[in-house]
Amino acid sequence: MTVPILKQGDVLIASMQAALSDRDLEQLRDDLAEQVGRFRSRSVIIDVAALDVLDSFATRTLRAIAYTVKLRGASTAVVGIQPDVAFAMVQLGLSLDGVVTALDLEEGLAHLKSLAAQERIRE
């Protein structure tokens, strides 16, 4: 089951479905790295609201996606981590250090937009 990627302006939105396999996650990483270039996207949002578990592999892959996308010149926000999922991650000792997170899709889009605006001011 591949993760659908939606293109909206210069943003790519990937909505993860429940019960993703390791392979699906790795496929998503590769797809995003490629599409950031093809669509000249500035940012990527990964919506994990449908996931009922984020384990060490998923956490590591999300970090890998964020770093890969950054190296391709775009920024990433992971949105929609559910309360129980967040709590279990903390208990297990999993972290998403260095990865931007936001409450939901709306907050994620707003955050990435303000990041882009800041960059334009610096330029």
Partner: protein, 133 residues
């Protein structure tokens, strides 16, 4: 649902199956969604260890009762290479390179009972339980 089931762990998709079955069992036993998530996460970590280090094995899920309390019992077995240094494997952040090194110590943290038995060349068995409060 029967009270005991065995999920063979042979491909990475089986990890998803094991944690889904574990969550269902935890739900019907009466655990909160927070505890269900914790149990599913612990199963995910130990099932992944089977794939990473032993290639194949099984996860057995069952209900527990000691007369006063109820809970769930999860046993992960493999006949893989075994763990040469269990103390080291249980240390936070230690990994032989195939993981983040949080799986075993993390699973122990989120469960109430946790036992790891391993002998080099013979395999590894992780037994863990969580009780309803």
């Amino acid at each position: 649902m029967s009270d005991e089931m065995c999920v063979p762990i042979e491909r990475e998709n089986d990890i998803v199956t094991a944690r889904q079955k574990g969550r269902e069992l935890a739900a019907t036993t009466g655990f909160s969604t927070t505890d269900q998530t914790m149990i599913a996460l612990a199963i995910s970590e130990i099932a992944r260890n089977i794939i990473s280090y032993a290639q194949r094995g099984e996860v057995t899920l069952s209900r527990l009762s000691d007369g006063r309390r109820r809970g769930v019992l999860i046993v992960a077995r493999d006949a893989g290479p075994g763990i040469p240094d269990i103390q080291l494997a249980m240390r936070d952040g230690y990994s032989t390179g195939k993981s983040l090194g949080v799986g075993l110590p993390g699973a122990k943290r989120v469960m109430d009972d946790f036992e790891l038995v391993s002998s080099p060349g013979k395999g590894t068995t992780v037994t863990m339980a969580k009780w309803l409060r």
